[in-house]
Symmetry: C2
Subunit: 382 residues, 2 copies
């Protein structure tokens, strides 16, 4: 079966057929009424998902472009920012800030651990001169499968007064993220994760404090200038020609999400993540993440002794059609990752764990290949 | 008929059904073998279209993002650049350079005219200190429907030694553009024009001189960093998650273009453009462009006395399903534009001119409504 694949990576994720076809709608004028209607509907729908009443912009770029938009619209060269990083994507956010001339102070936590809000509180309380302009943090670290406690972080950062810029690329829709209630100033997400649509768009929400900061920010910007995005959005347009198919797909996806309901959607992700973890552990494998902070979007698994990650991924893809992700950065050859976000159901998780058991066995691991799927099914029934 | 539209704007353009559906292929891992194969094929195909043997990068952004990539990868703050502009998009290229700290000297030509290569030669010959680092120019100015003579410009700029950065967003595929033979150093195109695929991608080709310049260029860059694009392309990947559907669509479009042949494709665009101009003139309307330099991609037409552009566009869209573009910048209410690039054939041009005749008549213009379509058909048969 050439085409049949279980795409179990943390993005791009599988896309429902109805959404694939929503992108195949005939092209329209991006400055005409059909596109305006879609953009308006998407902007309103995204605000519900972000749980915000503030401004929301849809940009044609990958998630990294959204992070760049957050940096260049909020900061000036020389600004001190505190980067709280628990992995590759936290580091990337810091790299972008550094590239554009911010002074970046790093607060790194071990891979597999969540950020400690108390350590953040301590550092911010020492900053009596309010030198720190912004705190950068990832809600869900895709490279390690760990989720940070943003409610706690938000309260601490607001007490200090710095801007809180959040990478929510792999978290939005897969887990609760209350932009306004948690006092997040800038929140970035990407289309190709739990939104169930193809890559090509990112979403950037900014609140009033962020909008005020934007007026002072001096990093040069053009393509990612949110001031331009704001003035065009008032006419139902984007400043530059947008990825029209993905906007139509977002419109369709938001309808699916509304039908499921956000609470049920978060519950589904939590249930599938738990079943994945139980299944993996029953196969004798070790999770990278501290389970207290394990992600509902992606599970990172340490490779079993004697098995190369590349070999396992190749076997799983070529023999069983299950596409798994490898590690990133220093974890490249140490872990593999199972994405379970977006258009994923019980069937996908059960199938993946069953086939993972077979794959491990075939690579010489001394394991009952049915142990994982058994534990997963039990977890789903529990 | 709610859906049936003739999308006669200069981008986004109509997309063939087979290409729409190529984008509805199930999602794949952007770091896996299926995507690598598509990216390799697209990169090779684009080099044929650009008529270059040099480096070619596919970025997830609109064409403006590609222009930004050209600027930030080639220049340093303080560099002197000469902007040759004949309209809104030439001005935009200059604005981007200025935003990122270049010193921009403007050489503007009247809207409707092409750039005069001799004026460029004179200015460059005065620059004995070789202060001018780069020349920016648009091959086809979408806002006025005028095409610049890039073969002449290329020779003049190379004689001076400055880099030649070309906006080919609305020209590539619609007209001949010989990157290597014409000595273009950086050439940018966009997916949603004559390539017949939806918006979401831009293409940036750079030659060896540009690659050398990139190593010296000091404008900060991250998302649009072509150095990162180069190192990932060597592995068959893009640095950031790309708009996967549009890459599959590009793959399909390049096959269609190969089947038609580039010479026939340029011929088709020239024939349709000529028929459009003859039809418009036979309706008593005036072209904005100097006909010696009129574009094969888009025709800009002065509004008839007593008719508001907005009224004409509204009538044409709502009554006849023909979507025309308005003017931009200072020409906003003075012209309308007919796009005839990409997936456009004789039938589309004939229908448009026939309906334009009816529309003008209905708005009170004293005209034989059949005159335009008659002239267009004669032109096509001539």
């Amino acid at each position: 079966m050439d085409e049949k694949q279980l795409l179990m990576i943390p993005g791009p994720t599988a896309v429902p057929q109805s959404i694939l076809l929503a992108g195949a709608r005939p092209m329209v004028n991006h400055r005409g009424p059909e596109f305006k209607a879609a953009l308006d509907e998407c902007t309103r729908g995204l605000k519900r998902v972000f749980q915000t009443s503030h401004e929301m912009y849809i940009l044609t770029a990958s998630g990294t472009g959204g992070l760049e938009a957050a940096i260049v619209n909020m900061l000036s060269p020389g600004d001190l920012v505190l980067s709280v990083s628990i992995g590759v994507f936290g580091d990337r956010f810091a790299d972008i800030a550094e590239t554009y001339g911010a002074r970046v102070e790093k607060m790194d936590f071990e891979m597999g651990q969540a950020a400690d809000p108390e350590q953040l509180r301590t550092r911010l309380s020492q900053d009596s001169g309010k030198e720190i302009k912004a705190v950068l943090i990832t809600q869900n670290e895709t490279s390690t499968g760990v989720t940070n406690d943003l409610a706690a972080v938000g309260a601490i950062v607001r007490e200090h007064g710095a801007l809180l810029l959040v990478d929510g690329i792999s978290s939005l829709v897969a887990m609760d993220c209350q932009m306004d209630a948690w006092q997040i100033d800038v929140l970035v997400a990407g289309s190709q994760k739990a939104f169930m649509i193809p890559p090509g768009l990112c979403f950037v929400a900014i609140n009033d404090r962020a909008e005020a900061a934007m007026k002072q920010a001096k990093i040069p910007r053009f393509y990612f200038d949110l001031g331009k995005a704001k003035s065009y959005l008032e006419q139902g347009q984007t400043p530059w020609t947008p990825a029209v198919p993905q906007v139509f797909q977002l419109q369709a996806a938001l309808k699916l999400l509304e039908k499921e309901g956000m609470t049920d959607c978060f519950g589904r992700h939590a249930r599938l993540a738990r079943a994945t973890r139980e299944g993996v552990k029953a196969l004798g494998l070790k999770l990278l993440a501290d389970e207290a902070h394990a992600s509902n979007a992606v599970t990172a698994v340490r490779r079993p002794t004697g098995v190369a990650v590349a070999d396992l991924r190749k076997l799983m893809r070529e023999k069983y059609g299950v596409v798994l992700a490898g590690g990133q950065g220093t974890l490249k050859d140490e872990i593999f990752r199972i994405g379970h976000l977006g258009y994923v159901g019980e069937a996908d998780v059960i199938a993946t764990l069953g086939l993972l058991g077979l794959g491990l066995k075939e690579l010489g691991v001394d394991v009952d290949p049915a142990a994982g799927v058994g534990a997963a099914v039990s977890s789903l029934g529990g």
